[in-house]
Amino acid sequence: MLNKQGVTVGLTMVEKILARASGKSKVQGGDNIEAKPDFVVAYDFPGYTDVIFQQMKNDFGITQVAEPKRFALFIDHMVPAITPQEEDLHQNTRDWGAVNHVPVFERKGIGHQVAAELGYATPGAFVVHFDGHISQLGTFGTLALGVRRHLIEAFVNERIRLAVPHTTRIELVGQLPQGVMARDVFHHIVRVLGAASCRFQVLEFGGEAVQQMSIDARQTLTCLAMFTGAISAIINPDDLTLSYAKGRSLLNIEPVYSDKNAVYAARHTIDISQLQPVVVVPPSPANTRDLSDHLGLPVQVGYLGSCASGRIEDLRAAAHVLRGRQVHTGFQLYVVPTSQEIMRQAAAEGLLTDLVAAGAFVSSPSCDYCFGRIGVMSAGQRAVSTGTLNVKGRMGSTDSEIYIVNAMAVAAAAIEGRIADPRNYL
């Protein structure tokens, strides 16, 4: 493609994915297009899926979706149900799925993770959801957008209208120090670039540090893209992610890669080799601080889980810290593996035994701890958490507080009953 000066410029992988999805040979950032999502996914939640089902029928007269294999529903919030109304919502979802021949996945874990396990994260695919944390499918070279109420468009029409997003490239270099995890890297990026730095863009992560990262760590990075203002995140596929996707991918399409001369909205290089553990202080995900400045702050609750963290690498890290030690008296430590597949692996590795022996309350996968439906705090209580958010009232009383840290730091705080440096336990 030629730019205005007649110079050949390359394309980002986002532009390539959306060119294919819109049936065009080329698109560029800013172009207005109509694109057909390869997959339309959602978890059932009041005000979203139940409303979409009603609107399809009552407002548009659609009684069955076309191409049901393009759709997938997950039941991961309100699991298990604690009121008849919640179970009604789930039953409504199951019924709608049955009538429409759309698969409904439940008791398998948090949908964003399960979607990857089941192959919806096909490299090169275009996926939409109402929830922005679906961005984590970008780990596998999939462009996944959280479009909120616009999701109705993808249920009603084959194509959705959107402007092709620009991409910001973030090159991570250096070796991650001990005691520092992908969680710290992401919040460090927010601190360095700013909470509004990548608004309406897609983050493309790359560089030697990303190549050295596990899939789990990459999912953490891509999951949280929204807190830089980005609408998604993506990583060029490599052997690690391609081998994960092989045998799982639900589509037979070619992976795509950004051209070396692709045009980015911005490029940043961030050296992580000197990074220290961080903490995101309440009440905003924009508030990244040094963990060392908050050591000793009393905490009563710990949550290790969520679609951002809670994978095998996080469980291994926490079990390593807690092995042979005990959770502080009166401290409530909730450990919630992100999916059943991860929980099974944790059991096979003996991690669940270590965590339970230390005094952790280990739960089957559910989103419910992350958004304050269960395991809630009362006024004045304080948590360390690997959940997605630390806004007021997210885990109970609006007068409780959430400090976001990495999985090891949750475990260290659980031992001491106060914010602690996990490196003392490695």
Binding site: R149, L162, A163, S284, L389, K392, R394
Partner: protein
């Protein structure tokens, strides 16, 4: 652009949120986030900012915000309250995408206007000139450029929100 026109916006600045990365849930307080009735929501809105707000606001008034307005994990009830009170638009230095998408889908006018914080004071009378992409401050007798919408945003807003927009598209395509 489509043949549909954008809604006329002319009103007073009912409030200026000067906080960067403003979390809109604070408008009603997180403890009220599960309220659904617009009148109940309106009754609790702005209590931490200006207890007289509901009595002073008029139909057509606008809100003004700082950079990255709507950051965090925005819910719909705060702006349901604001629309119930007559607010016709939010004009901010810039917006957080999740908030922007959610409110635009409701047909609620959101306008990005870099520099707006230095351009307006509370109770100034503003008017939007859609044709020339300008925000006119009648009180200060000045004007400031506003950002253009992407086509899909423009068309959806002109239609009055995502539902009417989709109905128009389907009608056009004979679906």
């Amino acid at each position: 652009m489509s043949e549909f026109s954008l809604p006329a916006i002319k009103g007073r600045v009912a409030f200026v949120f000067e906080e960067v990365d403003f979390d809109v849930d604070q408008i009603i307080g997180v403890k009220n986030i599960k309220l659904r009735d617009p009148a109940e929501l309106a009754a609790v809105a702005m209590q931490n900012y200006d207890a007289q707000f509901a009595h002073q606001v008029q139909k057509g008034d606008v809100l003004v915000g700082a950079a990255n307005f709507g950051y965090g994990h925005p819910h719909y009830p705060p702006m349901i309250a604001m629309r119930h009170l007559g607010i016709s638009a939010v004009i901010a230095e810039s917006f957080s995408p999740g908030y922007w998408r959610g409110e635009m889908a409701m047909g609620f006018v959101q306008i990005a206007c870099p520099g707006v914080l230095t351009f307006v004071r509370r109770w100034d009378v503003l008017e939007v000139d859609w044709k020339h992409h300008l925000l006119i401050n009648h009180t200060q007798q000045s004007e400031c450029a506003i950002e253009m919408y992407a086509q899909a945003d423009h068309d959806m807003l002109a239609a009055g929100g995502i539902m009417s927009y989709l109905k128009q598209i389907r009608q056009k395509e004979n679906l």
